[in-house]
């Protein structure tokens, strides 16, 4: 124990403190003794049994209770404790001892505690002796009980501590379980929400599906109705040409029933004259190009048959759709139309169609023949311009008005042919609105010739009226003139009848020539023959062929008649042997020609000039316009010379 030179003064100092300082014990958390100071052993009194290193067990019994609570306070609450004086018996002497327990370090949770015993000095025995004798036993008993109780309490406390500890652990577990539960609950909550949203989605999807289902079922029902209602035979075949579906009309063409769905179509006979049906269907499947044919059925109906590839919604080819549309009516109409068109074309009547606001659309053969324009030339041309149409006695506006009011018009039009010939046509026009266009159907009839004849007839009739009236006036004049120079009714009648007959004969000749004129020879023969019926030897007619114009023929005829009558009355023809020689010559000048007629009587009685110039004489000498008439009453017979200038137009002797 002697201090070595090596020890520092600090150690010296600590030792000194240790010698002076109260005895102390360093205790750890579990109350085990870590270190004892030199003189601390006096406060220890280990109990019997196995040696424990617990300071509470090792301390003197009087100190134990206080020590435990002090330690507890240090470790649990980090508080120093100075206890009240405790009576401790050392070798029969009681001593007051204070316990001072404090944490060994200043840390918040001390791992060690320092227990110091501070002696307060010996207790005066005498002070205690008064009662000691009396109470000694009681005190001992009580103190034993107390110690027992303390021990029990300690045990209970330890148990309680242990239980407490357990409970704490359990609590912690519970707490952690609780937390787990909570997190689980949260997860569950999340899951629940997710489920809810999924549910909602499902519900939406479900609704959509329901709607789709409804739409599909409606579409299906529509399809069913369509199939039932359609008048078009429709046959669905799959890629193997087996029947998938068909409408009722198909059963009229194919010998199939509802139960035949799924069987190949080639197994069934059909009414169509369409041997290539299967081949065509295969071709549609391979080429994917639709095929269309007009096919006749055995009962005379026509079907527009179309084969198309069956395309699914996602554009896959899944068979063939065959449709049969009855077009018998259309075919018949087409045929009828073709025949009508042929008829129209055959017609000699021009028939054509033009657009009211445009050109010619149709032009039949009759139009080609009448107007000279071929179909190619006419189509597309404005009709009025092409034909140079004019509306005599009316106007285009009137025609348009009539067309818009009643839809048709008919009347006369002037039109011109390709070679410039003017036509008068009778036109019938009908305006037919068609697809927003205004079509005009026009049929014309060439009445040019008829119009021409009408006009000619009108002129002829006018001419005839004029001639008749003129002739009547001539007859009236002759009658009145005859009457003026007649001595009696009989005389008048004889002369007038003769002159009328002569006029009529000349008239007859003129009519035969269409009033162009009368041959002088024919005229003479007509006038002389009635008086020489017994012998044609009695008169001679000589001369070139001369045609007298109508205005000369009439008076010349009358003059010849007068000469002949006079001759039968007073001249050569009044004797059986008398003759008349009638001759004429035509003397042509540079721009005129003169007819010289010579009337020569022979073999009659001697003649002399009439006593007075009656109408007969005036007639002979003056009635021929422009003529010079000279009569010589010779004893041998009458000679009459007529010198008549003829207009050049009548010079047709050369042509005969």
């Amino acid at each position: 124990m002697s201090p070595t030179a090596a020890l520092g003064e600090a150690t010296l100092h600590r030792r000194a403190i240790e010698q002076v300082a109260p005895p102390s014990i360093l205790v750890d958390e579990s109350h085990r003794i870590v270190h004892l100071s030199n003189n601390a052993g006096r406060y220890l009194l280990p109990p019997g049994g196995p040696l424990s290193d617990d300071v509470v067990d090792l301390a003197r019994p009087e100190l134990r209770f206080e020590l435990r609570s002090c330690l507890h306070r240090v470790f649990e609450q980090n508080q120093s404790t100075l206890s009240l004086p405790i009576m401790v018996q050392f070798n029969g002497h009681g001593n007051r001892v204070h316990l001072f327990v404090r944490p060994a370090s200043d840390s918040v949770s001390p791992r060690h505690a320092l227990v110091m015993f501070i002696e307060g000095g010996a207790v005066d025995e005498s002070v205690l002796s008064g009662d000691s004798q009396i109470s000694d036993d009681t005190v001992r008993r009580l103190s034993q009980e107390l110690e027992l109780t303390q021990s029990r309490l300690r045990t209970v406390r330890e148990e309680s501590d242990a239980a407490n500890e357990d409970l704490r652990a359990a609590n912690e577990e519970l707490q952690s379980i609780n937390e787990e539960y909570r997190s689980t609950a949260e997860e569950l909550e999340t899951s629940k929400e997710e489920l809810q949203s999924i549910n909602e989605e499902l519900q939406t999807v479900n609704t959509e599906l329901k709607l789709k289902l409804e739409a599909i079922s409606r579409a299906h029902s529509d399809l069913q109705n369509l199939m039932a209602a359609t008048d078009i035979g429709t046959l669905f075949l799959d890629t193997g040409l087996r029947i998938k579906r068909f409408t009722d009309r198909v059963t009229e063409l194919f010998a199939i029933k509802l139960a035949d769905e799924g069987r190949p179509i080639s197994d069934f006979s059909h009414q169509l004259e369409y041997g290539d049906l299967i081949k065509d269907a295969r071709m549609v499947l391979s080429d994917l190009a639709p095929i269309r044919r007009e096919v006749r059925s055995r009962n005379g109906h026509w079907f527009d048959t179309r084969l198309r590839p069956y395309r699914t919604v996602d554009d896959k080819i899944d068979g063939v759709v065959v449709t049969f549309l009855d077009i018998t009516d259309r075919r018949q109409m087409e045929e009828a139309l073709r025949q009508e068109k042929r008829l129209v074309d055959l017609s000699r009547e021009p028939i054509f169609v033009w657009d009211f606001d445009g050109g010619i659309l149709e032009w039949n053969r009759g139009s080609e023949e009448l107007y000279g324009y071929s179909r190619q030339e006419a189509i597309g041309q404005r009709k009025d311009r092409l034909l140079g149409t004019m509306v005599p006695g009316s106007s285009f506006d009137d025609i348009k008005k009539a067309l818009f009011e009643s839809g048709n018009w008919s009347g006369e039009l002037r039109q011109r042919t390709k070679d410039g010939r003017d036509l008068t046509v009778e036109s019938r026009i009908e305006l037919v609105p068609l697809d927003g266009r205004r079509l005009v159907f026009e049929s014309t009839r060439d009445i040019t010739e008829r119009k021409h004849w009408d006009e000619r007839q009108r002129l002829l009739l006018g001419e005839l009226t004029h001639r008749v009236k003129n002739t009547l006036a001539v007859i009236q004049a002759i009658a009145r003139q005859t009457l003026r120079s007649s001595s009696s009714n009989e005389d008048f009648i004889e002369h007038f009848d003769g002159r009328l007959a002569a006029l009529s004969r000349t008239h007859g000749l003129l009519v035969e020539s269409d009033w162009r004129g009368a041959s002088l020879a024919a005229l003479a023969r007509q006038e002389l023959e009635p008086y020489t019926s017994d012998s044609s030897e009695r008169f001679k007619i000589e001369g070139p062929s001369i045609i007298l114009p109508a205005d000369l023929a009439t008076p010349v005829g009358l003059v010849l008649h007068e000469l002949a009558t006079n001759s039968t009355k007073y001249g050569s023809l009044s004797r059986r042997t008398g003759t008349v020689n009638l001759s004429w010559t035509l003397n042509r000048g540079n721009d005129s020609q003169v007819l010289n007629v010579l009337w020569e009587e022979r073999g009659g009685p001697a003649v002399e000039s009439p006593k007075r110039a009656g109408f007969g004489s005036v007639l002979i000498e003056s009635s021929i316009p422009g003529a010079k008439v000279q009569r010589e009453f010779r004893p041998a017979g009458l000679i009459c010379r007529i010198e008549l200038p003829l207009p050049r137009a009548t010079d047709n002797g050369k042509s005969q």
Binding site: L461, G462, T465, H466, R467, K469, N470, A473, Q481, P625
Partner: protein, 142 residues
Amino acid sequence: MGRANEVASTPPRLDGARVLVVEDDFFIGLELADVLSDAGAEVVGPMQTVQAALAVADDRTLSAAVLDIRIGNETVEPVARRLAEHEVPFIFYTGQSGSDPIRTIWPGCKILAKPALPASLLTAVAGLMKKPRREQRSAKRS
């Protein structure tokens, strides 16, 4: 239109009148001249050609004229025009039908249809000669 007035019981006289007759037909002209002469008129003609008629148309002493419309291949129109210039009244004596263009040229003139009774002719010619006097009177009144 051009119808002659109703035939009077006794045909009117034309004494002192000089009447030109243009008629290419000899017989009708002869008869016209006789009828007019019988009524006291002095007849100029009958002229059988337009040329001959024109030669006398300027005669200022003419009181009236009777004209056939068609003279040969011509019409009497130049004669009618000349007479109108000299204010000599005339009638047409014709067998021509109503559509003759002469009617549109002379819308107011008298036309006597062939064949006419002598009395109708005389009434018509007498009517011609009264007419100018009447017109003069109406002109004075206004």
